[in-house]
């Protein structure tokens, strides 16, 4: 598989393919990473400060609603990362972009972590507010299913040795599991259940108090940048590992 070609293929913009060269990716990402890290820290600090100490407590729920500032952005990331993995899967299968499978592999554990954190923080929010640690309502069940799909994908990565075959298998699995995403999003609308219905991403705009909306959006942005940092670190590691594999193989062949 030629991975040193940065030549544009038909129908795709040049910038898309300029990063296709892993060496170039390592260069750009290395420069970008410190900036992303600084922005992440700044956004996290501001968001946490505002969310924990400045924003008002909820009229009905009290202070426990402050957990929303980590629970909701975690949910956004859980679904956002899976969406990214879905697009990477298309990149692997359809356009055969050389870094698409690296991106897929790097993102999966990050998405799984965000999903697990979403479920745990949600549980800790639910207990003081509605009295239960867990309910099998539509949204919680489908987010749990999302976590299980993530874990299955990670297991599939580990099961197949050859990276390219693994990437294609995982890509298909990711696409099949993507059907779960609209179910999560709309489940609270379709079924009247315990989990509260959409209050940010809905027709007519957010219905949440602006003093609460601001830290929420800042934290959402912070998580996004955090994902960027983690994704770059993990992609760099995967690229280096593959290069090491090829070198080891070459040496083994030379000695034989």
């Amino acid at each position: 598989m030629t991975e040193n070609s940065a030549s544009p293929r038909q129908g795709a913009p040049n910038a898309f393919w300029s990063l296709a060269n892993p060496g170039r990716f390592m260069g750009y990402s290395g420069t970008l990473l410190p900036w992303l890290a600084v922005i992440t820290l700044a956004l996290l600090s501001y968001g946490l400060y505002k969310g924990l100490f400045v924003a008002p407590a909820d009229y009905q729920q009290g202070e426990s609603m402050r957990i929303m500032y980590i629970h909701v952005p975690a949910a956004w990331m859980a679904m956002g990362v899976y969406s990214l993995m879905t697009m990477s899967s298309l990149g692997t299968l359809v356009w055969k972009h050389p870094l698409a499978d690296v991106s897929q592999k790097a993102a999966a554990p990050i998405g799984a972590t965000f999903t697990a954190l979403c479920l745990i923080t949600g549980s800790l929010w639910g207990k003081p507010t509605w009295g239960t640690w867990w309910e099998w309502d539509a949204r919680m069940t489908s987010v749990l299913v999302l976590l299980l799909i993530y874990l299955g994908i990670i297991a599939l990565w580990r099961a197949i040795d050859e990276p390219l075959r693994a990437a294609r298998a995982v890509a298909i699995m990711t696409l099949v599991g993507a059907v779960n995403l609209p179910i999560i999003k709309f489940s609270v609308d379709w079924w009247n259940t315990l989990h509260q219905p959409a209050s940010v991403f809905k027709k007519g705009g957010p219905s949440i108090h602006p003093a609460m909306l601001e830290p929420l959006l800042v934290m959402g942005l912070a998580f996004g940048f955090l994902f960027g940092c983690l994704q770059i670190i993990r992609m760099q590691a995967e690229i280096m590992n593959r290069r090491a594999e090829r070198l080891a193989l070459r040496q083994a062949n030379a000695e034989a």
Partner: protein, 49 residues
Amino acid sequence: MFDFGPQSGYIYAAYAIFALGLLVLLGASLAGRAAARRRLDRLEAESRR
């Protein structure tokens, strides 16, 4: 520590688990990258010999 009222325990627990989870993920990712770099450097040095 800052008092959030009767639900403080839950709030601290949630934020602590969130911080722990992300730090573990960050640590594991950085460690994995460092290990990959060491391995690559070693192999590149060997192949130059």
